[in-house]
Symmetry: C2
Subunit: 236 residues, 2 copies
């Protein structure tokens, strides 16, 4: 039970981090002014520059705080799996659970702010801000590399390039899963069932199905179809 309650009045940097995390997730980084952050945090405008050296430093701190912990958990879960397997190749479903399940777990932490952060993180992979992309990639690289090679060992019949792409696709699916109901509203207005509880198994079975899909188009070959476009350009 760490930092689940509202933060005490003394911890200005912590309050700023929490406010920034929530506001970045809601309005984007560029769309969130420092005045909004500090007023939400009950702090003075200059406090951000004092404690974090500027807005860039604050952004970096917001990401680092959670990302370090998330990847630590992921690697710990993978360690447990590999210890249990004792040299044998791992089950793909277990690997996915270690990677994506950990993230969903953090995203389910509504009160602690993990939900806000995971939503923010999901946007980062096609985030315009090069500066953010840079150090998020740095933080990701070693963890992703270990999971990638674990998947390669678990699926030796699948080429490495294919696993790389499918890993990327899975990240996209998870990103939208966490963005969640808000992104579904264009599709279904009703839609008020149990979201968070069934989300994890839903996503997991989807990811596993995609990861283990047949290499070439699953359906038997069919004549190239005309999709009814006006153009005559080929489908490339």
């Amino acid at each position: 039970m760490v930092a689940v309650q509202a933060r005490q009045a003394g911890d200005t940097p912590g309050r700023i981090l929490d406010a920034a995390e929530a506001l970045f997730a809601c309005h984007g980084i560029d769309g969130t002014s420092m005045r909004l952050i500090t007023s939400r945090a009950g702090a003075n405008l200059a406090a951000v520059n004092y404690h974090f050296g500027g807005k860039d430093g604050l952004v970096r701190a917001v990401f680092q705080r959670r990302l370090t912990e998330l990847n630590r958990r992921r690697l710990a879960a993978l360690d447990v799996l590999e210890a249990q397997a004792a040299g044998a190749p791992l089950r793909p479903s277990r690997i996915l659970d270690a990677y994506f399940g950990t993230a969903l777990e953090m995203a389910a932490d509504e009160a602690g702010g993990g939900r806000h952060f995971m939503r923010l993180l999901g946007r980062t992979h096609n985030e315009p801000n090069q500066f953010v992309r840079g150090f998020v990639a740095e933080e990701y690289a070693p963890c992703a590399a270990r999971f990638l090679s674990a998947l390669c060992r678990a699926l030796p019949e699948v080429p490495r390039d294919e696993i790389l792409w499918r890993f990327h696709f899975m990240m996209g699916a998870m990103s939208f899963a966490i963005a969640g109901v808000d992104g579904l509203q264009p599709l279904a207005g009703e839609f008020g069932s149990d979201d968070t509880s069934r989300l994890a198994p839903r996503l997991m079975s989807f990811l596993l199905g995609g990861l283990r899909a047949p290499l070439e188009a699953a359906e038997p070959a069919a004549p190239p179809l005309d999709r009814g476009r006006g153009s005559t350009r080929s489908a490339a």
Copy 2:
């Protein structure tokens, strides 16, 4: 061969749309100033307000120009499929191809700017900007609804809620697929093979695998695993 070449000097609104589309995709909407757009387009700063009524109007126009056409193609492809099937339920792979293949086709149009737009569009589903989300959802709704019900008819054994979620997951995978190599760099530094040509079949087989995955966790039931976290909170 329409508008593939650089735009002629007369068409100021068109040049502004092209420039805005590319810059929005690179730096985000909030991160792109009107001065940058107009200077890139070789137009005067006031031209945006004159032709589009303001930045909001420009954003709307950028989305509408491509989105209307994209969804028109999608529905046309679905029309062809349903005409061919003559009442019989459609093959899921064909439905996915009509929806996602059309998008990938637009994204492959490097010279015409479709690539920029699709990347921009992919970010929109977890986009902070409520104003953008609003009318993109409007534009999407009727098209997505038709594809959703087509999928429901093609997969009668799968609950509608499940299809809805999987459709959402597939959108996420496609979004990351189009964001493409840039998002993969944290994983693999090398990685210079044929990207665009093999991307479509890669994504399609992944999507189909995910869509048709078994409903509950594919792997036979296993004892709940401890992922090695420090916390004692349950996985919810």
